[in-house]
């Protein structure tokens, strides 16, 4: 069924390569841009990149831990 060009393996590989290039470019652009940090940490090189990535990993891990405690089958309230 998966004959759509967007679902093909080599399209997905190319998308990953393009994504990686864009990621590298947005970080490298930082070299030529003057930021106006309010605090200290927010002026570090590629702050948005590492902070965004780290925040998301932390959020996913936290959600996963909370889920282990609070997850129930979706028929929980039906009974």
């Amino acid at each position: 069924m998966d004959d759509h060009w967007l679902a093909r393996t080599d399209t997905i590989r190319r998308l990953w390569i393009a994504f990686a290039l864009v990621l590298v470019a947005t970080v490298l652009v930082d070299l030529g841009i003057e930021h106006h940090p309010y605090f200290g940490l927010d002026g570090t090189f590629g702050f948005g990149a590492w902070f965004g990535f780290a925040s998301c990993v932390a959020l996913i891990v936290f959600a996963k831990a909370l889920g282990a405690l609070l997850k129930r089958p979706d028929t929980y309230y039906d009974s």
């Binding site: 605090f39 927010d42 925040s55």
Partner: protein, 561 residues
């Protein structure tokens, strides 16, 4: 100055909603589309002063009063009513459409209300109308609608008590900025926060909204929570407590949405998350922050409605809501996919979309106030928004896997509504000037600097990287996540049941004891008075004659003495 308005804008939609079910079916569509546009026109005719004054119980009510903040919210509410009506034209449950018009009208009533009593009256109309929108989805929405109504009536009680106390203390009905220094004001704030979806009662929102119909949730997403943001902006700007409440909402929304499987519950959690950004802005309280919160409410109504229209289209065409059942719909629903992605990019505040030019103002205000940890948390949350809504929603619904579903695009009116709001999302993002011009304070903020754009691109693209690298952890399962509503949906039920059993046991014990006592009493009475009892025996006639003779003889003997 003569007031050019004789017709309160809210009345047009409310009266229109009430007569809608009586109108012949062919006139319904024109009426649905015309009423919001007439209302929008009337909103812009309201001058910056109290227009109407009514006497009520010895107080003077000001049902319509204009200023920049009121006009901003009334404008976006009317716009929303128009696009929502367009999207819902093919909804055959007239009750829902009628209730939705009344709901939009009462939200506009709140935005233009010049005194606390008027706020309260429209507030409660909003609660009733929105409950009807939930209920009109059918029998499966009955329980959720009832819980929704109960929470909002409770919020209404808090608000009413607060308003009564405030009027008793100050003697004034006026609705202006307050400091949080008395019990009545705390009650008013609590009443407002219930509608904002603030903790501890956030769960009503993801509980009730996703049970509404495919079109109902589009309306529901817009009015209640944003009317709450409006009253917070008007009544409690700069209240520090709101920073903490807002930040809690921001992260609550993200974490619960990450764990959620139902596409519309994901978007419901993300409403709490987005309102959290606005509440934080109100708490920061500088002109920049208040502008940011107001602008974010405006753009949020549009992109959230767009996201829910796209989810509503999927629900309408497939009848399915769960990520585990969906996937791969981009093949046959390209327009719905693209519109969903535009909404998703806007909510993530991607540069060139409406979210970027509004949300970044709130962060900027936190930075300018040197609120370091607020700024860092907002930045982390911005990345989290892309994670839980920006990628998660389009990925699991439209891509992910081939679910085998091949639904067609929805009818023309639903596509038109999505296109209209997609254009607005990008239009406002590319040309923010007109929105900035109608904000409550002058705007000196420039969103498109190289530093801002690169920062947001890094933040969002790398959260995208985190999403795809950790996809295994994010796979959806057939689960829900317990929330505070567990207290009244499960613990409360268990408590009531055990109370019921205890009452049953106590009752039967009482009945048994009473029956036993009565039995003994009856037995004792029978012993003396019963058929064989000592007092009921028949006495032989002989003994009667004997005793009569004895008495007469005694009488005779005594008479001789």
């Amino acid at each position: 100055m003569t007031a050019s308005v004789v017709l309160p804008p809210a009345a047009v939609l409310i009266v229109g909603g009430l007569i809608l079910p009586l109108v012949p079916a062919r006139l319904r569509a024109p009426l649905l589309l015309a009423l919001p546009l007439v209302t929008l026109y009337l909103v812009w005719q309201v001058p910056d002063t109290a227009v109407l004054r009514w006497s009520f119980l010895g107080y003077e009510l000001v049902p319509v009063k204009g200023d920049a903040l009121s006009r901003l919210f009334a404008t976006v509410f009317a716009l929303m009513a128009f696009a929502g009506a367009l999207f819902a034209l093919n909804q055959d449950r007239v009750v829902e459409l009628a209730a939705a018009l009344c709901y939009a009208g009462s939200a506009i009533g709140v935005a233009l209300a010049g005194d606390l009593i008027t706020v309260f009256l429209f507030w409660e109309t909003m609660a009733i109308a929105s409950t009807l929108v939930v209920w009109s989805a059918g029998p499966q929405a009955r329980g959720a609608g009832l819980r929704y109504a109960a929470i909002h009536l409770f919020g209404g009680v808090l608000l009413m008590a607060g308003i009564a106390g405030e009027i008793a203390a100050s003697g004034s009905l006026s609705f202006a900025a307050m400091t949080l220094d008395s019990v009545p004001r705390a009650l008013i704030l609590a009443g407002f926060l219930v509608n904002a979806g603030a903790p501890p009662l956030s769960a009503w929102l993801p509980d009730a909204y996703p049970e509404s119909s495919w079109s109902g949730m589009v309306f529901l997403s817009a009015f209640t929570t944003k009317a709450a943001v409006y009253v917070l902006l008007r009544g409690f700007p700069g209240t520090e407590l709101l920073i903490y409440i807002g930040l809690f909402m921001v992260f609550y929304g993200i974490v619960y949405a990450i764990l959620e499987n139902d596409m519309r519950r994901i978007l419901a959690y993300s409403i709490v998350n987005q309102v959290g950004f606005m509440v934080t802005g109100v708490g920061i309280g500088t002109e920049m922050a208040l502008n940011g919160a107001a602008a974010h409410a405006f753009t949020h109504i549009i992109y959230k409605a767009l996201l829910l229209m796209s989810a509503g289209s999927v629900l309408y065409m497939t009848g399915k809501r769960k990520c585990t059942d969906l996937g791969g719909l981009f093949r046959t629903m390209p327009l719905t996919t693209v519109c969903g992605i535009v909404g998703a990019l806007s909510i993530s505040s991607f540069p060139l979309t409406s979210g970027f030019i509004s949300k970044s103002m709130i962060s900027e205000a936190a930075g300018m106030q040197q609120l370091a940890w607020v700024w860092y948390l907002l930045a982390a949350a911005s990345a989290g928004v892309f994670l839980h809504a920006g990628i998660k929603f389009p990925w699991f619904v439209f891509f992910q896997k081939d679910s085998g579903l091949r639904p067609q695009e929805p009818p023309w009116n639903m596509r038109a509504a999505m296109l209209l709001f997609s254009i607005l999302c990008i239009g406002i993002g590319v040309v923010p000037g007109p929105l900035y011009a109608i904000l409550p304070y002058p705007v000196a903020y420039v969103p498109y600097t190289a530093s801002h754009v690169v920062f947001y691109l890094q933040l969002l693209l790398f959260s995208g990287l985190a999403f795809f690298l950790m996809l295994g952890w994010l796979q959806r399962t057939l689960t829900i996540t317990l929330d505070v509503d567990w207290l009244y949906r499960r613990l409360g039920v268990v408590l009531v049941r055990s109370l019921d059993q205890a009452a049953d046991a106590a009752w039967s014990a009482t009945v048994n004891a009473t029956r036993h006592g009565t039995d003994r009493l009856v037995e004792a009475i029978r012993r003396y008075h019963g058929a064989g009892g000592i007092l009921a025996r028949t006495w032989p006639t002989g003994s009667m004659a004997f005793w009569t003779t004895v008495m007469l003889a005694a009488y005779l003997a005594l008479s001789y003495l």
